[in-house]
């Protein structure tokens, strides 16, 4: 191959490469994004079918929704139930709110877990792996929503929290709670679509909803989104969590680690060498000899 042929070949290859780069830029928006659930609390009637369906799917405690008076008090999820429905008495009447893991975009629990037992899957749900979990409960400390619950009464304890029915999603089904909801309170889909539906509902009925979608930006954004007729702090949501993803709070510390691990040993070694007195000139030796200052 002579020089001219080489130049033509290179130019052809380069020209061929450019549109490839553009294609890469286009496909930066992954076709598969995180999934989530939209919870429209104005539609919830408090039937608690979701609690039953969830517990039946996961072999947890199935509440007797006909005769237990669980709605009389505000409950939290527990080591026996991944999800609960609470009833709040507000100025606009009774509001029922389903509580469970929000499957954050940047989960604090997954950042906290030192064995990746808590994992943000690429589909979206945050799952727990019992084969890895040591039971250190650091995820519980880190979660701003206080969702993970621990089985303190067992010799082989599990961390219990909603996993968005990950196994069902793998089979192409929807989460059990969404399937069981009779009033379309729960809607499953990609967060992008759910956000548009939520915004549409708020814009179309500005008097019916508070102009805020909880979960859009809280703690850096979550997979579960909530719409409400009343301010969210009246229905059991914390509104002081900020919009910074929680793993960001540890980022500065984790980044400084290599700096310290490189810098400090070097600094200490330098100090050690600087304080070495073996080769120091001794006063009574060198300087008093005749001719020492020449």
């Amino acid at each position: 191959m002579d020089r001219r042929q080489f130049l033509i070949a290179s130019a052809t290859v380069a020209a061929g490469g450019i549109p490839n780069n553009n294609l890469k830029a286009d496909s930066a928006i992954e076709p598969k994004e995180f999934v989530g659930v939209l919870v429209d609390t104005t539609r919830c009637i408090g039937c608690r079918s979701c609690e039953v369906a969830c517990s039946e799917t996961h072999n947890n405690y199935v509440p007797d929704i006909k005769s237990d008076n669980a709605l009389e008090q505000i409950r939290d999820t527990s080591d026996k139930q991944f999800t609960v429905v609470n009833r709040f008495k507000t100025a606009k009447g009774e509001v029922f709110v389903k509580k469970q893991c929000l499957h954050c975009w940047q989960p604090a629990c997954a950042a906290a877990c030192l064995v990746n037992a808590m994992l943000k899957t690429k589909e979206g749900p945050v799952t727990w792996d019992g084969d890895k979990c040591m039971g250190c409960r650091f995820c519980m400390i880190s979660c701003p929503f206080d969702i993970p619950k621990f089985e303190y009464s067992g010799w082989n304890p599990r961390i219990m929290k909603c996993n968005m029915c990950y196994e069902r999603l793998q089979e192409g089904k929807k989460p059990a709670c969404v399937e069981s909801c009779p009033t379309d309170t729960l809607m499953f889909g990609q967060k992008r679509e759910l956000m548009e539906i939520a915004r549409h509902r708020v814009y179309s009925h500005p008097d019916k909803y508070v102009h805020h979608i909880y979960g859009e930006n809280e703690a850096g954004g979550a997979g579960w989104l909530y719409l409400s007729a009343v301010p969210f702090d009246q229905i059991g949501f914390r509104t002081d969590l900020g919009t910074t993803p929680y793993p960001e709070y540890t980022r500065e510390f984790l980044i400084s680690i290599p700096l310290i691990e490189f810098g400090v040993p070097a600094f200490l070694l330098a100090l050690n060498m600087l304080t070495d007195r073996k080769d120091d000139v001794r006063e009574d030796d060198e300087w008093t000899k005749p001719g020492a200052d020449k």
């Binding site: 064995v115 250190c136 303190y152 010799w155």
Partner: protein, 398 residues
């Protein structure tokens, strides 16, 4: 002798020697023994229940308080108070201040035992302790976790402390060549150890960075890792003063005259270091307080509790150390050391237990079983310490 016979002979000799060393010396019915043996016995029974019936059967841990006394005291506080090891190593090996050489071995030993026993205590608190090999053997490394860093640094630092103490063990077992080799590793081990300490002492604090909405704003700041590191310096120094005071009385027969004599100078030096570290710490606190504009939080009951910790257990002991150093008042220094240790304990308990989930109604209090098991860990540690110092040359005989 064949080359194969030498190791076998050596093994047999050492085995006999070790069995001989296991025999108890000294009286059986000392006050310490009388108190510690029943506590250890009860503690073991409690542990049986803990492992068969779960953590909830012996602790007051709850969904709102996942970390309790075992983590809050044994791990968070015990490790801070063992900070004397890396500080004294820094002073002796890096700054070459030979004045402190005589307390080096006992401080390293105390640090080594603290890390072994408090990491052991951690195993008692884990829900599935058998999975602790997971972050170690690499089947699943959670690099993004602060706890991953802390766990690994605990492990490596315990190894470093062991290496630093190993020449003493080699000397006791009469393995001279091994002792020489291990001594040659000392400077490198010390440098690695100090680096590891800086990271895991601050790492313990960094574990609470994500708990921002749950810790009372007077105790939460993004600077918790830095504060924990600095408090481990003066907490460690105060602990060295405190333990040294006890050891020099209890084991005075093992300590030579020259070392006894230089003891006072050492205490003054340590107290000076502690005073300076606490002064710096206090200014860090002042800056963080001002930067966070926390003025209006002071006039609450939490605010008063904060002042008790920061003024009563940091500023006042700092002044006491300074006064004691200037006027050579050793009683004042010892009292200041105790208050400083209590202050570090208090600060750690505040961040992880008391000011944590401070708005919750059902507060956490340690159960008697948790306290007993913690005491058991401390007592067993003291037993091992006593066994080692009465047989190995930890204290200087000069």
């Amino acid at each position: 002798m064949t080359t194969a016979a030498i190791p076998t002979n050596e093994f047999v000799r050492f085995a006999k020697f070790f069995l001989q060393e296991l025999k108890p010396r000294g009286k059986w019915l000392t006050p310490f023994n009388v108190i510690s043996i029943p506590v250890i016995f009860v503690g073991l029974i409690i542990l049986y229940f803990r492992f068969t019936q779960g953590l909830g059967s012996v602790t007051n841990l709850s969904q709102q308080y996942p970390f309790g006394f075992w983590i809050g005291f044994d791990v968070m506080t015990g490790v801070a108070l063992a900070g004397g090891a890396y500080v004294i190593c820094f002073v002796v090996y890096v700054l070459r201040l030979e004045k402190y050489h005589s307390i080096l071995k006992v401080t390293i030993l105390n640090g080594l035992l603290a890390y072994i026993f408090y990491s052991g205590a951690l195993l008692l608190d884990l829900g599935r302790p058998w999975h602790i090999i997971n972050p170690i053997i690499g089947n699943s490394f959670g690099y993004n976790s602060v706890l991953f860093l802390v766990a690994w640094h605990f492990l490596l630092y315990t190894g470093a402390l062991f290496l630093e103490f190993s020449p003493t063990i080699a000397e006791w077992a009469h393995w001279e060549r091994l002792r020489k080799f291990l001594t040659s590793l000392t400077l490198g081990t010390v440098i690695v150890g100090i680096t590891l300490s800086m990271l895991h002492q601050s790492g313990i604090g960094a574990m609470f960075l994500m708990a921002k909405p749950k810790i009372h704003p007077l105790w939460y700041s993004e600077y918790i890792p830095l504060l924990y590191f600095v408090s481990s310096i003066f907490g460690g120094l105060a602990m060295v003063i405190f333990e040294g005071t006890i050891s020099s009385k209890v084991f005075s027969n093992l300590i030579g005259a020259k070392t006894h004599h230089s003891h006072e100078d050492i205490i003054l030096g340590l107290a000076k270091g502690a005073a300076i570290a606490m002064f710096v710490y206090y200014f860090f606190l002042a800056f963080i307080f001002m930067h966070g504009e926390k003025w209006n939080l002071i006039n609450t009951s939490w605010g008063y509790w904060y002042l008790v910790e920061v003024i009563g257990f940091v500023l006042i002991p700092c002044f006491m150390f300074a006064y004691g150093v200037r006027n050579r008042r050793f009683g004042v220094i010892k009292f200041a050391a105790i208050m400083t240790v209590l202050g570090v304990i208090l600060n750690r308990q505040n961040v992880c237990l008391i000011a944590y989930n401070w708005y919750v109604v059902d507060k956490y209090y340690p159960s008697w079983q948790e306290i007993t098991v913690t005491l058991m860990v401390v007592f067993v540690e003291i037993w091992v310490f006593r066994w080692i110092v009465t047989r190995m040359s930890v204290f200087s005989k000069e």
